[in-house]
């Protein structure tokens, strides 16, 4: 069983939902982002998304755009991202790591080599924002060969008759983009979520994570009361950004501030009994 499947199975046994925080690689530098990544499990992260910086994150809002730029300035390359995951794995063999990014850096690295190296580094799953099922053949073979889960995105605009297309070849879990929009902007209402989830449950047995616009402990708790996991990205990145000095460098506050906020989110998520 993969780390992702194992983690969701354990959570289900315990009657709990999952918190999935996001950290952008090399934001604002390699060591800081690695320190955040390493601190996340103890702060309550059940799975972790590691953002792979890309110069043109066209599905992301201003917060992640800025984080990606800081990551690139901080020396991020695909090689560095994988080194970061490998360094994390030295001390944690349980928490699933999902890389989230765009197609081009993967294509530039070479899909086969990328999947093999990602697996070696300890990556468990991939979310490729601009790779819908129609284009998934680029990664499907290499990912399967390396034992990496391809996590599919599903949106409010995805009609019912398209759900089987989206879920074919999906594994690990399903990521529900809860709003039509970019990351870090609007928040889906409880009503919208209550309406959306049964529709997805009818089409898949995979665990469902909700992302986009979850910024407070209440919203996170709300999300896991209907879904299996909540993804929090922009809220943590905003906190990180607020701790940087005038030159955009990390300060002594950076790592603790992000992890404190994560702990508050995790407490709220874990208080929900399922």
């Amino acid at each position: 069983m993969s780390r992702i499947a194992r983690r969701f199975a354990t959570l289900r046994q315990q009657g709990r939902g999952a918190l999935i925080p996001y950290v952008e690689a090399c934001d604002p530098d390699f060591d800081t982002s690695l320190a955040i990544l390493r601190g996340m499990p103890a702060a309550g992260a059940d799975l972790i998304e590691v953002g792979v910086p890309f110069s043109d994150p066209s599905a992301d809002g201003p917060t992640i755009q800025k984080a990606a730029l800081r990551g690139l300035k901080g020396g991020s390359t695909m090689k560095r991202v994988l080194e970061m995951v490998a360094a994390f794995r030295e001390g944690d063999d349980e928490t699933p790591i999902i890389l989230m990014g765009y197609t081009n850096p993967i294509e530039a690295y070479g899909p086969e080599r990328f999947c093999a190296d990602a697996r070696k580094a300890g990556v468990d799953g991939l979310i490729v924002v601009d790779m819908p099922p129609e284009e998934a053949d680029l990664l499907a073979g290499p990912a399967a060969a390396a034992g990496l889960d391809i996590i599919r995105l599903v949106a409010p605009t995805t009609p019912d008759d398209r759900l089987p297309v989206v879920f074919s070849g999906a594994s690990g879990f399903v990521y529900y983009v809860s709003i039509t929009g970019v990351t870090g902007t609007r928040t889906a209402s409880t009503d919208e979520l209550a309406h959306a989830l049964p529709r997805l449950r009818r089409a898949t047995d995979l665990p469902i994570a909700i992302g986009f616009g979850i910024r407070t402990p209440e919203l996170a708790a709300n999300a896991v009361s209907v879904a299996d996991a909540a993804v929090v990205a922009s809220a943590l990145l905003n906190t990180l950004e607020a701790t940087l000095d005038a030159n955009g460098q990390a300060t002594a506050r950076t790592v603790p501030a992000v992890l404190e906020q994560l702990r508050a989110l995790a407490d709220a998520v874990h208080a929900v009994r399922k």
Binding site: S55, D56, N104, P105, E107, D130, P132, T158, V177
Partner: protein
């Protein structure tokens, strides 16, 4: 920013554009990149042949929106259902004679088509070689070829019941064309434009605002067309319920490259008829500037199956093809995925997109339409570069000899035509696509010539 080598002062010499071409057909590849071979082109062609007949080069894209390995639909899932809907709506419109009739009406009485094919007598004499004809797209309403596409898409958006339009723009010509049809049909309009371009294309910004559009300056990245495209896509994904994304060139996810090409093909269709009427034969060479590639695709496409016609796309070589400051995606890029399609891109070894540079805002884009990438790989069209300096010189040559002030974009095509014409026999024919008029560029040109306006 200007290139260090730009000459100041007006050019009065007789053959101002005889600078040596720095380009070769050879591509510069970064050493750290593993060579990969792509299967593409001819072998896959037969599978895509439909109405255009066996062995036609005009039948692409295939069902997945691909031209060989290029094209496709690399977008977030939120947009995918919209692209499928758009594809369906476009097919239905294409099959509907009423749509064609409506479009023809607007093209004739509003856009002002057909545009003339002008024999550039003085320029021909001055260069001393092949006969140069100019396809006068600058005479269209709003001053460029952009309105051909915009007219088609706005009618489609109306059929689809959309009430709000978003678009990206570089030089502002596509933005002006879009704002124009939004005024014509009373639709809401938001135009995303890089902050750098807002600065260097002020007349067009004012024009768009007069037309009632909201012009949103984009400060991300270098503040040029690529960044405007990102921001327009973000707007679209946020406002999917009422908004139509009106892409301005043959790029973006399928079906945009196909649709924009089809709407722009009126240029080539007319050119074919007009040159037959004027000369009784097809031209030897067609030259067009390449930004995203829509004016070039429009004039090339009807000639793809006429192998005797040489098709030359002129990319912006900026400060020189090997200067590191170009917008020559085909000549200096490698295949990758950006803005919804796979195509040649300027990028670093890690797959990060690099900034393009051109004196011309409309060519300042690190990518190119996927069909051009394919035409380049299969060798049906050639892609070359013209530098900022060569474009400036050609801008003046055209103005001085023909009384036509071309857009700086189009000046790149003129520069290359002027380079090859003297080496061609006098009975040879070159058609240059004058994609737009240069009024918008006089400030930029004046600055480079050291003239204060």
């Amino acid at each position: 920013m200007t290139c260090p080598t730009i000459r100041q002062g007006l050019v009065f010499c007789r053959h101002p554009v005889q600078n040596r071409l720095t380009s070769g057909q050879g591509r510069l590849h970064d050493d750290t990149i593993e060579p990969r071979t792509y299967s593409c082109g001819v072998a896959k062609l037969s599978a895509t042949d439909t109405q255009a007949g066996a062995n036609s080069l005009r039948s692409g894209p295939d069902g997945r929106g691909r031209f060989g390995i290029f094209g496709g639909r690399f977008v977030a899932e939120t947009l995918m259902p919209l692209l499928l809907e758009l594809d369906g709506a476009y097919r239905a419109a294409q099959a509907d004679p009423e749509f064609r009739r409506e479009l023809d009406y607007y093209l004739k009485d509003y856009v002002g088509r057909p545009s003339p094919l002008w024999f550039a007598r003085r320029m021909t004499r001055e260069l001393g070689g092949a006969k140069i004809y100019m396809k006068r797209e600058e005479l269209n309403h709003t001053g460029s070829h952009k309105l051909n596409n915009v007219m088609g898409q706005i009618l489609l958006a109306r059929r689809m019941g959309r009430t709000r339009i978003v678009a990206e723009t570089g030089a502002g010509q596509h933005g002006v064309a879009t704002a124009t049809v939004c005024a014509l049909f009373g639709m809401k309009c938001a135009i995303y434009m890089g902050a750098t371009d807002v600065e260097r294309q002020k007349p067009n910004v004012f024009r768009m605002r007069l037309l009632g559009a909201e012009v949103v300056p984009v400060t991300a990245g270098a503040g040029t067309l690529k960044d405007a495209m990102n921001e327009a896509m973000r707007d679209w994904v946020t406002n999917v319920h009422d908004t139509y994304f009106l892409v301005g060139t043959v790029a973006g996810p399928h079906p945009y490259p196909q649709m924009v090409r089809d709407f722009q093909s009126v240029i080539g269709v007319e050119t074919k008829e007009q040159i037959m009427a004027a000369e009784g034969r097809l031209p030897d060479t067609i030259v067009a500037a390449i930004g995203g590639g829509s004016n070039a695709m429009g004039i090339f496409h009807p000639f793809l199956d006429d192998p005797e016609v040489r098709l030359i796309g002129v990319e912006a070589a900026g400060c020189g093809l090997d200067s590191g400051r170009t917008a020559a995606s085909i000549e200096r890029g490698r295949p990758g995925v950006l803005h919804g399609n796979r195509t040649y891109l300027l990028q670093d070894a890690d797959g990060q997109i690099t900034e393009a540079h051109s004196i011309s805002a409309g060519l300042d884009y690190p990518g190119v339409g996927p069909e051009h990438s394919w035409l380049s790989d299969i060798g049906r069209a050639e892609y070359v570069g013209a530098t900022d300096q060569e474009a400036l010189d050609a801008f003046q040559l055209c103005t001085r000899t023909e009384g036509i002030i071309p857009a700086l974009e189009s000046a790149h095509a003129i520069a290359y035509a002027a380079k090859i014409a003297p080496d061609m026999a006098e009975d040879r024919i070159i058609v240059v696509n004058i994609s737009g008029r240069g009024d918008k560029d006089i400030f930029t040109v004046a600055e480079h010539l050291g003239v204060k306006l």
